[in-house]
């Protein structure tokens, strides 16, 4: 134990407190940085030097303090909880969003929707039945029939557009997934080399956590930390990032809604051996589900089901009106053929193919054969289609109400999942976010410790001064 060793003890304290203050400064600087995890300088006391020999004199005292590292005060369990709740919340949110958008295109209940057009169409047949043989009511029938088929076509096209846009969006998001995976892989590599060389990779880890969270939000990916500091990210059990390698995925399947039934859109791994991607959650899961084709039980993709509702409305309207219309005769006694036609091309969906068989009002058959030319009984029977139990009106109402129920429940479960996500995030933030008060107190403590160490230096300095300059001057 030499006189100067105390100086070096004080010096170690000065360096250590300044390093701790640096870390506090970094924390305060990043108080509002999203994704930043607070850090702490870990210090440890330095033990006394072992005695050189049995007869060494002096009291063995510790050699000061040193910084052993800067630890990152994260919680991997809180992180995992945030990831899983985010993947569920974003899955449900994307479903609720698609349904809400679909719902906004049907404009019901209103005076303009398909329901109102149907009622108007039936009423126009009543007017024709009152005045058969007159041009005006017959023209009104043709007009309202055209408006109805236009409304059905517009509804179908809105669904079709939404499908196409959603597919484009999915392929953009798939690109983002691949970019994110590459980013994570790159960070894994950097973090590994920094950690191996004993450096501080805390900020890189923050960045990587942000990317993994985005990955979970998109695909429901899960992450597993490895011993070398890297993180393995998996989607549906298959790794998308492992070490510094990323595995890409891509979107397959039809690019048009009409082709989706035979060529279902799905995500697949670039490496062919892994087959299709099974998504556990995330935005993409909700979107891929919405792109799915309709099925027999009516639980297929929401867009295809909506398109099918429009198609079956068009078909049922055509079948029912034509069945009665073809039994009638026109004012000139000619037999009434079809009123609506669905065209001859089976590839065109009925909603788009629905047109008037003849645009000449004189071809409307309102009369029962055998009655007078001004008979309107067939027109009256057509008008009564709307009141039947299996009328197109009822089918439409059922579709609208089903959509409303689905939307309402989707929005509700999205809200619940969002609040679960928010709670998980609060728990994570409680662990990781910077508290200014805490940092202020830490800074005070470091400052005091620094002052104390400086005082030790002064004291030793004064002692040495006494020893060097004041001794041996007795009687001078």
């Amino acid at each position: 134990m030499t006189s100067f060793s105390t100086l070096s003890t004080a010096l170690s304290a000065l360096t250590t407190q300044r390093a701790a203050l640096d870390v506090a400064g970094q924390n305060v600087a990043n108080v509002n940085t999203v994704g930043y995890t607070r850090q702490r300088a870990e210090t440890t006391s330095v033990s006394a030097i072992a005695s050189a020999s049995r007869f060494s004199s002096g009291l063995p005292v510790g050699q000061g303090v040193t910084v052993t590292g800067v630890s990152r005060l994260g919680d991997i369990f809180a992180d995992a909880r945030v990831r899983s709740s985010t993947s569920l919340a974003s899955d449900l949110l994307s479903r609720a969003d698609s349904l809400t958008r679909l719902e906004s295109t049907i404009t019901e209940p209103s005076d303009k929707g398909v329901g109102a057009q149907l009622a108007q169409f039936w009423a126009s047949w009543q007017d024709l039945s009152n005045n058969p043989g007159e041009a005006a009511p017959a023209q009104v029938v043709l007009e309202s029939a055209t408006m109805l088929s236009d409304a059905i076509r517009a509804g179908y096209q809105a669904v079709d557009t939404q499908w196409t846009e959603m597919r484009t969006q999915v392929s953009a998001l798939v690109t983002e997934v691949n970019t994110t995976a590459n980013g994570i892989a790159e960070l894994n590599g950097s973090i590994r080399s920094v950690t191996v060389s004993g450096g501080n990779a805390n900020e890189l880890m923050d960045k990587r956590d942000m990317l993994i969270l985005r990955m979970s939000e998109l695909t429901g990916a899960t992450a597993r930390p490895m011993e070398d500091g890297t993180v393995t990210v998996s989607i549906g059990g298959n790794p998308v990032v492992s070490g510094d390698r990323a595995y890409g995925l891509h979107l397959e399947g039809a690019t048009k809604m009409t082709g989706a039934a035979s060529d279902v859109p799905l995500l697949a791994w670039d490496r062919t051996s892994a087959g299709p991607v099974s998504l556990d959650g995330g935005t993409l899961a909700g979107m891929i589900a919405a792109l799915a084709p309709a099925n027999a039980t009516g639980t297929g993709g929401m867009l295809a089901e909506a398109a099918r509702a429009y198609d079956s409305l068009a078909t049922s309207l055509t079948t029912k009106v034509n069945a009665i219309h073809s039994t009638g005769v026109t004012t000139t006694g000619a037999p009434g053929g079809d009123f609506y036609t669905l065209g001859s091309d089976p590839a065109v969906p009925p909603s788009l193919a629905l047109t008037l068989a003849s645009t000449d009002y004189r071809n409307i058959a309102a009369a029962t054969p055998g009655n007078g030319a001004f008979d309107g009984s067939v027109a009256d029977r057509i008008a009564q289609i709307g009141t039947a139990v299996d009328s197109p009106d009822r089918d439409w109402q059922r579709f609208v109400v089903d959509l409303g129920v689905n939307t309402q429940s989707a929005v509700r479960s999205a809200t619940v999942a969002e609040s679960a996500r928010s709670t998980a995030e609060q728990i994570q933030l409680a662990q990781t976010s910077v508290d200014i008060d805490e940092e202020t107190i830490n800074m005070l403590a470091f400052q005091r410790a620094y002052q104390g160490a400086a005082r030790v230096m002064t004291t030793v300095d004064e002692m040495l001064d006494t020893l060097i300059n004041r001794t041996g001057v007795v009687g001078r």
Partner: protein, 298 residues
């Protein structure tokens, strides 16, 4: 249990609360300004089902109203025609009685009566060919311009009416016949009231006894009166249905409004309450975000 609270957490919580309050307020404001409770089906799926059904019912009811009004106009036309026809036939009967007093009349006065009877016949024919909006009301569903034609050469009468009847749907499953049964009222061909009057005029001119025609005219008159009664009954039916429809329409309107529209008082009270909540959230945020330890140490 969250034991560590940081400023970032309070910031986020405050922001979330403000957002929640503002969203609720914006929804209420939307409802208060549009006065509609159901803007889209998911606002209330059950209510939407009701609203859609009620809307189509309301549209159907107004159509039944239109049909009934049109039917009433037809029946009025038929009724007026029948009343006038009845007057003309009464006149013809009076003339026939006059003509039957054959002993007191010379050829000139018989000719005068015959001419007057022919005038009555023409008037009757005119009534039988009454039209409403271009349609002969006694010709059924036929597209002929007139219900009865008189052949200028042979003087025979043809009835142009067809098999079908003119019906108006005045309620979902109620139809009413609104045309006059021309064949039954005026008779067809040689047994028609016109042919009877022609023969009467001819017999008068020939100086024959015409007293037998009075019973024949009475039979025709009975047919007209019978039809008048039927038409009256149908008119009553339509009137009653119109009234029923009117009250039903009011009820449906009230139902639609109850399902779709907001309760204004309730919405405004809720809006007021939500505004208070929003202000409270803003106030709390301003107090929560201000202080840190830095405000208290130097």
């Amino acid at each position: 249990m969250i034991t560590r609270i940081t400023h970032q957490m309070t910031q986020r919580t405050s922001l979330e609360n403000i957002q929640t309050n503002l969203r609720a307020m914006s929804k209420l404001q939307g409802q208060a300004s549009s006065l509609r409770r159901i803007e889209k089906p998911s606002d209330d799926p059950a209510g939407t089902a009701q609203a859609l059904r009620l809307r189509s019912e309301s549209r159907a009811l107004s159509q039944y109203d239109r049909n009934a009004s049109d039917g009433a106009a037809w029946l009025n036309t038929v009724d007026t025609a029948l009343t006038t026809a009845s007057t003309q036939l009464t006149r013809a009967r009076t003339l026939a009685i006059q003509g039957a007093n054959s002993g007191t009349m010379n050829a000139q006065s018989r000719e005068a009566i015959a001419q007057e009877i022919e005038a009555a016949r023409d008037a009757l024919l005119g009534q039988a060919n009454t039209t409403y909006l271009g349609r002969a009301v006694f010709a059924g569903t036929s597209d002929a311009g007139a219900a009865f034609d008189r052949d200028a050469v042979t003087g025979t009468y043809t009835y142009n009416g067809s098999a079908g009847t003119v019906e108006r749907r005045i309620a979902e499953d109620v139809t009413v016949r609104v045309d006059g049964n021309g064949g039954a009222v005026f008779g067809t061909g040689a047994t028609s009231v016109f042919a009877t009057l022609d023969r009467l005029a001819a017999d008068l001119r020939a100086g024959a006894d015409v007293s037998g025609y009075i019973d024949e005219i009475d039979a025709h008159h009975d047919a007209i009166l019978q039809e008048t009664a039927t038409i009256g009954a149908r008119t009553n039916q339509i009137d009653a249905q119109l009234q029923a429809n009117a009250s039903k329409k009011l009820a449906v309107k009230a139902d639609i409004s109850a399902v779709e529209d907001v309760d204004l008082a309730e919405t405004l009270v809720n809006l007021q309450a939500q505004e208070v909540a929003y202000k409270a959230a803003l106030g709390a945020t301003s107090r929560v975000l201000q202080p840190t330890l830095l405000d208290f140490i130097r």
